[in-house]
Symmetry: C2
Subunit: 257 residues, 2 copies
Amino acid sequence: MSKKPLILVTNDDGITANGIKLLTELMSKLGEVVVVAPDSPQSGMGHAITVGNTLRLTNSNEFDGIKSYQCTGTPADCVKLAKHHIFKSKKPDLVVSGINHGSNTSISVIYSGTMSAAIEAAIDNIPAIGFSVCDYAHDADFSHIEEYVIKIAKLVLEKGLPKELALNVNFPKKQEEKIKGIKICRQTRAKWQEEFDCRLDPYGREYFWLTGKFINMDKGEDVDEWAIAHNYVSVVPVQFDLTAHHAISILNNEWDI
Amino acid sequence: MSKKPLILVTNDDGITANGIKLLTELMSKLGEVVVVAPDSPQSGMGHAITVGNTLRLTNSNEFDGIKSYQCTGTPADCVKLAKHHIFKSKKPDLVVSGINHGSNTSISVIYSGTMSAAIEAAIDNIPAIGFSVCDYAHDADFSHIEEYVIKIAKLVLEKGLPKELALNVNFPKKQEEKIKGIKICRQTRAKWQEEFDCRLDPYGREYFWLTGKFINMDKGEDVDEWAIAHNYVSVVPVQFDLTAHHAISILNNEWDI
């Protein structure tokens, strides 16, 4: 019989979030799990790493019978510390991040701490998946997604992923109708149009809360927003080569260099 | 005569860095400049935005005769606040970020606060450029790059950029030989292999400094690392669609969904 796969679990909502509890429980059915997660919420951290400051890593008691650690850094820091300090010469067979409380479809992939952990693993060619549910509630009902989390993680463990890729998996909010299935999608062309809630503090000085409106500019039916809106699981294969290859010849032709 | 272009200047090293001083001075030759920059260093912040906390924006006196503001947030926050709170209905003609003290070639684009500001502008379809010099010294000599910063900014102002793109521009460290020219490149396939410097604090508790070794896995001569190593300016057109389009059909074929 083959060895149990080694699975690293992390997230960006912090080690006490319900999402990572469920993800850890589900992954324990598939392999040997180690949890390394931020000790505080890290939403919106993008692909931040801690370069000007120090990091702490301490044992956690959040998960019975599972090796778990909390880290003062970002989700990407967690993956780096896990690889270097905990796994050492062993390499995990899979890195999973989440389950995020809130959508990471479309352009949100770029702001997402959840996905930065998965992408950090992909950079090292470790198959990786970020899971998010389009429901921001702290106590959101995730029961409808369990079979899909297992199915997708199993598929990746069994078949691997194309080189240096991570999967951005989003689930619709729980509805009366059962989830219809899985769609492999491209990232929706959309943006968050920022708005700021400007307030005065008790001393009369201005401060701001960032908010925003999601603007979808994409009418395609092959995109993650379409899948979610139609009660499918969306799976976007994500890469970290940001080169706009199509633009290289345009710039070479237009610029007199 | 046409109106002077409106140029937003920002960075990730903070509003007091030498790089943003020079960039502001150079951009003032090309248009009307507004500076909105972080009040403290934000290196390695990736595409972080401030969602769980408040932001402050205050006037700065760093730049004589130029409207300038410092912000408590990340580079991406600076661009969002500038667009929404300072420019309002006007849209800048160009957003420039830097000049970063240190390289942002290759995979560093993903960790870079400098580039996140430029990408944030590109998401809103504002032409944007991140400038970095491959010299980490605080007092690095930037005199060799001035003509190229002007030249590239002018090209972008005059010819625009393909839709929703930012440029990742890196300059070699000053050498005896003059810079050879500009190369339009793709992002080098490489990674930062993390290392951690583990120390004990005065109370006997472990803490970590993240460090790393750059591992170049790319022998191409069309990449930014090659250009820099051969004393060229590298220009990589950068997009924010992270979809690995080639992998969609692979997953559709391999997965039984």
